[in-house]
C-alpha cells in the first residue's frame, strides 16, 4: 500500500472496521469476565451469561424480534446454512422443494446446491434488470411441497433491495417458511420480523462495525414455531440449535454494534446516502459510458456499483492503489469469472468485467469521497486513452456490432 494519506477504505459491503466504541465494550470480556457462558457453577460464568443475554436483547431489538428467537452463530454464512439445511431437513416430510433467487449470496446458493445433490428440487428465480424478483414468478413457483423460500433483503454487490414485505406475505398466504438473508441491511435499515412475517433471518456483526466471527439467526418461535435440524451438536448451547462455546466478547461486540447502529441510524443513513449520491453524481457526469448496476432508488444507502465501459475492472482496481474498492463480490472476487449477480441481471460480460463496487460506510468523509472521485475519473480516463474500443464508441460505433476482419 502507498502512504497512509491515500489509504481510503470504501469497501463497506465486504466488511467494516470495528467501531472503537464496540471494541471498548468487548475488552472487559477478554480478560476480566471470562467465564464460559455455559459454565453455570461460578460467578464468572454468570456474568458472561448476563452479558450474552443483554447482547441478545440488543440484536433482537434491531430486528423486531424477541431475545429468545436469536441464535448466535459464527457469522451469516453459518446462519444461512443452519436456516436452509436445517429447515429443509426438518420439514423433508412436508416436501422437498425450495425457492431462491439467482442473485443471492453464495452462502445461500451453495447450501441450496448441496440439497439439490441430496434430492431436493430448487427453483432459482431470475430477476429484472435491476436485480429484483418478479413477484408473479414467485407466486407461480410456490408449490404444495415447497418448504422454504430464501430471498435476501439487500444485495451485497449491487445493493438492490428485494420486496421482502410482499415476499413474506406471499409465503405466509401459502404456508411456506420465508428465510431472509439480511446481512447487508440488519441494523442499517428498519426491519420488523414480526410486522413483516419473516420466519428466519440471517445477519452478521462484521458488516455493522462489529467483530468478524459472530453472527445471528432469527428463528420465529410462534405463528408458526419454526423448528430446525442443527448442524452442530453437543453441549446443547443456544437451545440446542448451535452447540459450541459461546464467543462472549464477540457477542457483546455484536450487541453493541447493533445498539450503535440503531442509535445513529437517523443521522447516519442520510449522511452515507449523500456521500454515495455525491460520488455517483461526479462519476456519472464527469465520465461518459458509465452504467449504474442495481436499482436506482430501491438500494442500500452506501452502495454504488458502476460499470465503466471499455475499462477492465481489475486494471481500474490497480489504478486505484491505496483505495479499497471491489470488483464484484468480495467473497467470490478471487476468481475472474464475471459476477453471478451481474450475470443474472443480464448486464453482459463486458460491462460486468468493468464493474466496480464502492461501499460507503460510517467512517468515510466527504474529502475521501472527493479524492476517490478524482482518482477514479483520472484512472478511467487514462485507461480509456489506451482503448481503441472507447475511441470507436466516441465516434458513434458500437464496438459490439463491429465485424472484425483479419486486416483490422
Amino acid at each position: 500500500m502507498t502512504d497512509a494519506e491515500t489509504r481510503i477504505y470504501l469497501d463497506n459491503q465486504a466488511t467494516t472496521r470495528v467501531d472503537p466504541r464496540v471494541l471498548e465494550k468487548m475488552l472487559p470480556y477478554f480478560c476480566d469476565r471470562y467465564g464460559n457462558a455455559a459454565s453455570r457453577n461460578h460467578a464468572f460464568g454468570w456474568e458472561a451469561e448476563k452479558a450474552v443475554e443483554e447482547a441478545r436483547e440488543l440484536v433482537a431489538a434491531g430486528l423486531g424480534a424477541r431475545a429468545r428467537e436469536i441464535v448466535f452463530t459464527s457469522g451469516a454464512t453459518e446462519s444461512n446454512n443452519i436456516a436452509i439445511l436445517g429447515a429443509a431437513r426438518m420439514y423433508a416430510e412436508k416436501g422437498r422443494h425450495l425457492i431462491t433467487c439467482a442473485t443471492e449470496h453464495k452462502a445461500v446458493l451453495d447450501p441450496m446446491k448441496a440439497l439439490e445433490h441430496e434430492g431436493w428440487k430448487v427453483t432459482v428465480l431470475g430477476t429484472d434488470g435491476y436485480g429484483r424478483i418478479h413477484l408473479e414468478e414467485l407466486r407461480e413457483a410456490l408449490r404444495e411441497d415447497t418448504v422454504l423460500v430464501s430471498i435476501m433483503h439487500g444485495n451485497n454487490e449491487v445493493g438492490t433491495l428485494q420486496p421482502i414485505a410482499e415476499i413474506a406475505a406471499l409465503c405466509k398466504e401459502r404456508g411456506v417458511l420465508y428465510h431472509c438473508d439480511a446481512t447487508q441491511t440488519a441494523g442499517k435499515m428498519e426491519i420488523d420480523v414480526e410486522a413483516l412475517g419473516i420466519d428466519l433471518l440471517s445477519c452478521s456483526a462484521h458488516k455493522i462495525y462489529g467483530p468478524k466471527g459472530v453472527g445471528a439467526l432469527y428463528v420465529r418461535r410462534r405463528n408458526p414455531r419454526v423448528r430446525l435440524e442443527p448442524i452442530l451438536y453437543g453441549g446443547g448451547h443456544e437451545r440446542g440449535l448451535r452447540s459450541g462455546t459461546l464467543n462472549v466478547p464477540g457477542i457483546v461486540g455484536f450487541g453493541e454494534a447493533m445498539r450503535l447502529c440503531l442509535e445513529l441510524r437517523d443521522e447516519e443513513t442520510p449522511r452515507i446516502r449523500a456521500l454515495r449520491d455525491r460520488l455517483q453524481e461526479r462519476l456519472t457526469t464527469e465520465l461518459d459510458f458509465v452504467k449504474l448496476n442495481g436499482h436506482p432508488t430501491e438500494r442500500l444507502a452506501g452502495n454504488l456499483n458502476l460499470s465503466f465501459a471499455y475499462v477492465e475492472g481489475e486494471s481500474l482496481l490497480m489504478g486505484l492503489e491505496g483505495i479499497a474498492v471491489s470488483s464484484g463480490s468480495a467473497c467470490t472476487s478471487a476468481s475472474l469469472e464475471p459476477s453471478h449477480v451481474l450475470r443474472a441481471m443480464d448486464v453482459g460480460d463486458d460491462l460486468a468485467h468493468s464493474s466496480i463496487r464502492f461501499g460507503v460506510g460510517r467512517f468515510n468523509t466527504s474529502e475521501e469521497i472527493e479524492t476517490v472521485a478524482d482518482r477514479t475519473i483520472e484512472a478511467v480516463r487514462r485507461l480509456r486513452e489506451m482503448s481503441p474500443l472507447y475511441e470507436m464508441a466516441l465516434e458513434g460505433i458500437d464496438p459490439r456490432t463491429v465485424e472484425w476482419n483479419a486486416h483490422a
Binding site: T15, C31, N41, A43, H105, A107, Y233, E321, A330
Partner: protein, 395 residues
C-alpha cells in the same frame, strides 16, 4: 478481599495480553476482508496466512494444513462428520462403522452419534479403569467396515492421556481404509508432543482453551490424507472446507497464544505437572481421604487437570463455599449442564454414585504460584469444615 483464584482453565482461559494486543491491532489496522483483491484485503489475507504458519509451528504440525473454524465443537464436527461422510463410499454397500472413544467430549460424541441418522453404525471404544483408551481395546473392533475412529488426546474431566499415536498405528494396520480424528482441545499448549507425532488424519484445537480469543478454532488436516466434506458452504473459503468470512483477528490471537504456550512449555516442561503435585499435596492436607480420578502415573496425564472426589462432600455446596472464598473451580465438564453426578465419564470409570457427586475439577493455567496452590487447599479445608465433612485420616 483476596483476588479471585481462577482454577477452571480447562473450561475456558482468560486471553493472554499478547494475544489480546494482536486481536485489537488486527481489528484496528487489518480489518479488510481477506477475500478482497485490494491492498487492504491482501494485507488481511497475508496476516491470516502468517497466523496459519505460526499456529502450525506452535503445534508442531509439519505435514498438516490448518483450516480455521469458529469453535472446537465445529472442528470436531468437521473432522468426524466430514471425514466419515467422505469415506463411506470406501465400504459401500456395507454399513459404514464409526468408532468413538467412550470418554469423548459431548461435542465429539454427539457429532458421531448424529451420523446414525445417515446410516452409519456408531460404536464406542471402552476405556480402562484409569480412563484411557488402549490399543488392546480398540483392536478387536477394527475391521474392513470402519471408516472413522475418533479418540480425544486428553480427557477434559480426568486429564487422562490417551496413547493416540499407538491407536493410530493400530488403525493403519487393521483398518487402513479408515481415517483417524483426534480431539486435541485439551492437549494443545498443555503437553509437549506435537500434532505430527500422532499421525492422525485430523486434529481439532480451540483458541479459548489456551489464552486465545473465543470464536476461533482450527482443524489440522494431514497433507495427502482424506479431505472432509464441508459442514457448511458458501464462498469456498478455506479451500472449500469452511465457508464464511475469516476471523482474521481471532486467528492472529490464537496463533500468538499457541506460540507463547509452546515457548512456555519448552522453557519449563514440568510447568503443569509440578503445579499439579503441589496442588494435590495441598488438597490432601485438607482431605486426606480424597480420591484422585484418572491415571496415577504422570506420563499418563495432562498435568493441567486434577479431578478429585471428596468422599462425604457433595460437590455443589463445596463449589459454592470455594466460590465465596474467591476460588473458582469446575465440576465435571462445563459444556454440559447436567450435574457432576451423571457425568458419563465418571460413570464409565465405574465410580460409585456417592463419589460421582463429590467430584471437583481443578485446572491450571500453568503460571500459578505455590502460595496460590496452597490457598486452594486451605479454601477446600475451610469449606469442608463449614460443611461439617469429617475428613477421615486417609493414606
Amino acid at each position: 478481599m483476596e483476588p479471585v483464584l481462577y482454577l477452571d482453565h480447562a473450561a475456558t482461559t482468560p486471553v493472554l495480553p499478547e494475544a489480546l494486543e494482536e486481536f485489537v491491532r488486527v481489528c484496528r489496522e487489518l480489518y479488510a476482508n481477506p477475500s478482497s483483491l485490494h491492498g487492504a484485503g491482501a494485507a488481511a489475507a497475508r496476516r491470516l496466512e502468517e497466523a496459519r504458519a505460526e499456529l502450525r509451528r506452535a503445534a508442531g504440525a509439519e505435514g498438516y494444513r490448518v483450516v480455521w473454524t469458529a469453535t472446537g465443537t465445529e472442528s470436531n464436527h468437521l473432522g468426524i462428520q466430514g471425514l466419515a461422510r467422505r469415506l463411506r463410499g470406501r465400504v459401500r454397500p456395507r454399513t459404514p462403522r464409526v468408532l468413538a472413544g467412550a470418554l469423548e467430549h459431548p461435542a465429539a460424541l454427539e457429532a458421531a452419534r448424529a451420523l446414525e441418522a445417515e446410516g452409519f453404525r456408531v460404536e464406542t471404544v471402552p476405556a480402562d479403569r484409569e480412563g484411557r483408551i488402549l490399543p488392546e481395546a480398540l483392536e478387536p473392533l477394527l475391521d474392513g467396515d470402519v471408516v472413522l475412529v475418533a479418540v480425544q488426546w486428553v480427557n477434559n474431566e480426568l486429564g487422562s492421556l490417551h496413547p493416540v499415536a499407538a491407536l493410530v498405528e493400530r488403525v493403519r494396520r487393521r483398518a487402513p481404509q479408515a481415517a483417524f480424528h483426534v480431539d486435541a482441545v485439551q492437549a494443545l499448549g498443555k503437553i509437549r508432543p506435537t500434532v505430527a507425532s500422532t499421525g492422525a488424519d485430523s486434529v481439532a484445537v480451540a483458541a479459548h482453551k489456551i489464552g486465545g480469543v473465543r470464536g476461533c478454532a482450527a482443524l489440522f488436516l494431514r497433507e495427502g490424507g482424506p479431505e472432509p466434506r464441508p459442514l457448511f458452504r458458501g464462498g469456498g473459503h478455506e479451500g472449500g472446507l469452511r465457508s464464511g468470512t475469516e476471523n482474521v483477528a481471532g486467528a492472529a490471537a490464537f496463533a500468538r497464544a499457541a506460540r507463547l504456550r509452546r515457548e512456555a512449555l519448552e522453557s519449563e516442561p514440568e510447568r503443569f505437572l509440578r503445579r499439579r503435585r503441589l496442588l494435590l499435596e495441598a488438597l490432601r492436607r485438607a482431605h486426606p481421604g480424597l480420591r484422585v480420578l484418572g491415571p496415577e502415573a504422570e506420563d499418563r496425564i495432562q498435568g493441567g487437570i486434577l479431578s478429585c472426589a471428596f468422599p462425604g462432600a457433595p460437590a455443589e455446596p463445596l463449589l459454592h463455599h470455594l466460590e465465596s472464598q474467591g476460588v473458582l473451580v469446575g465440576s465435571g465438564s462445563a459444556c454440559h449442564r447436567h450435574g457432576a453426578s451423571d457425568s458419563p465419564v465418571l460413570v464409565a470409570l465405574g465410580l460409585p454414585r456417592e463419589l460421582r457427586s463429590s467430584v471437583l475439577r481443578f485446572s491450571l493455567s500453568g503460571s500459578e504460584t505455590e502460595a496460590e496452590l496452597r490457598r486452594a487447599g486451605e479454601a477446600v479445608a475451610r469449606a469442608l469444615r463449614e460443611l461439617r465433612v469429617a475428613a477421615p485420616g486417609g493414606g
